[in-house]
């Protein structure tokens, strides 16, 4: 029997159009053996939560470079919970000021990554988070 595949949704909420970082992470997760669903640019929180629901993912990875994280992230977390997916881990990457990170973690974000993060660390963190759940 095949081992349980880790499924990850990589999403770009909001209006910034720079998805290089999201694609680099998607590629790194793929090379680590995960199934990565990539949704493309300019997703609303509603669209991201719906995609996470339809794809039954274990992890949602958000890439936000626009500065709108304090508006977008709570809304996405709330919609995931409304859909019954409160067991999904949410990881955030992008340009996030240090001072905002504790608030985001308190809301339920598992990890926040800035520029220069080693993608191997992201893979390890995802596996560690899921191992704890199981």
């Amino acid at each position: 029997m095949p081992d349980k595949k880790i499924r990850v949704l990589i999403a770009k909420p909001g209006l910034d159009g720079h998805d290089r970082g999201a694609k680099v992470v998607a590629r790194a997760l793929r090379d680590d053996g995960m199934e990565v669903i990539y949704t493309g640019l300019r997703q609303t929180p509603q669209m991201i939560a719906e995609a996470a629901l339809q794809e039954d993912v274990d992890v949602v990875g958000l890439s936000i470079l626009s500065g709108a994280h304090n508006a977008l992230v709570p809304s996405i977390l709330e919609k995931l919970r409304e859909n019954g997916q409160d067991d999904v881990f949410v990881f955030l990457g992008g340009i996030i000021p240090e001072s905002d990170i504790p608030g985001l973690l308190a809301l339920g974000v598992t990890k926040v990554y800035g520029p220069g993060t080693d993608t191997r660390v992201v893979c390890q963190d995802i596996r560690a988070a899921l191992a704890k759940r199981a």
Partner: protein, 337 residues
């Protein structure tokens, strides 16, 4: 848990549906139990396969077709299964078909599920059929199945779909490519997508002449018959009942999509009227039953063997005392007792 999920799924609970899809995809005991429970509710959905080379525009075409179906039939529910390849090296996958389907993501009557091939080679995953059955049982009227970017031999979709759409594009090769065996042969509907690009008319003509050639070839089979002239006269190309239409579309400009949808409905009506629907269902169920019998046999054949017998027989084969096939028969003899 499974019983509850199946009931919730039948009532339209999307989380339940999504979780059942995962269990079925994992092909574990709970997934198999769910499929068993759901099978009685299947057989209603029209399954439409969309296949073609990487970059031909399959996802965009699925996006446009699903949107059109939703506009044309207000209450219809559309499921999409989008298959992308698993890396043979890492076992991971990028499932990127949703990127081409932004128009569908706010429609509560559309459910898109991406899946990786997980090592299967025919253009689909091993559990794609099972996932389509789950959507069928969940009350989806149309299940659109997008294969991986297919080359010439990834033709598994034909055993799954009621209507197979093969997507070609301008510049993909000459008329020799068009008469090769394989993917073009399985089309119920042929589409030249990106018809706004130069060369579309040439591709269109190549495909049309390929279709006509194929149908003349089919007629020639009957030429040994003593009433050959009459047969050819009385049963022209329509003898097989369905002449695959060739259509031009430009999916990202939503051009030609209405004609495509009409062609799908015509094919569906043809399948119903001619009995081909029943024949297809019978063939598909026969194939999956045979596959499951073999699966069950291969999972269980060792269970009834006396301890050590396998090693004894293996040694006899190594010493050339019996042949491998005789050994296999000797081993299986225990299974039938």
């Amino acid at each position: 848990m499974t019983e509850f999920s199946v009931e919730a799924l039948r009532k339209g609970d999307k989380l339940a549906l999504s979780r059942v899809l995962s269990r079925v995809e994992a092909d574990d005991e709970s997934g198999r139990a769910a499929l068993d429970a759901l099978f009685a509710f299947t057989g209603k959905a029209h399954k439409i396969g969309v296949t073609g080379a990487p970059g031909a525009g399959k996802s965009s075409l699925v996006n446009a077709l699903a949107q059109h179906l939703r506009r044309a039939y207000a209450d219809c529910r559309v499921a999409i299964i989008a298959v992308d390849p698993t890396s043979p090296f890492s076992g991971g996958a990028i499932l990127g078909d949703r990127v081409r389907m932004p128009d569908l993501q706010n429609d509560p009557f559309v459910f898109i599920r991406s899946m990786a091939t997980r090592g299967a080679l025919g253009g689909l995953a091993n559990t794609t059929l099972a996932l389509s059955q789950v959507f069928d049982a969940a009350g989806y009227d149309y299940v659109l199945i997008e294969t991986v970017g297919a080359g010439q031999a990834e033709v598994d979709i034909v055993n799954l779909a009621h209507t197979t759409i093969v997507v070609d594009t301008p510049g993909m090769g000459d008329d020799i490519q068009a008469i090769k065996a394989g993917i073009l042969e399985i089309a119920d509907i042929l589409v030249v997508n990106k018809a706004d690009l130069p060369g579309a008319d040439q591709t269109f003509r190549n495909l049309v002449s390929m279709i006509e050639m194929g149908y003349r070839g089919a007629s020639r089979v009957y030429s040994g018959h003593h009433r050959q002239a009459e047969t050819l006269e009385a049963q022209p190309v329509e003898h097989e009942g369905w002449l695959p239409p060739v259509l031009k579309t430009s999916a990202i400009n939503a051009q030609g999509i209405e004609d495509l949808e009409q062609a799908v409905q015509k094919h569906r009506a043809y399948l119903r009227a001619s009995g081909a629907w029943h024949a297809k269902e019978t063939g598909a169920i026969r194939q999956s039953l045979n596959k499951l019998v073999i699966e069950e046999l291969s999972a269980n054949w060792k269970k009834k063997l006396p301890a050590g017998l396998y090693e004894t027989i293996l040694q006899s084969v190594i010493k050339r005392e019996i042949s491998p096939r005789a050994a296999a028969r000797a081993l299986l003899a225990y299974n039938s007792e």
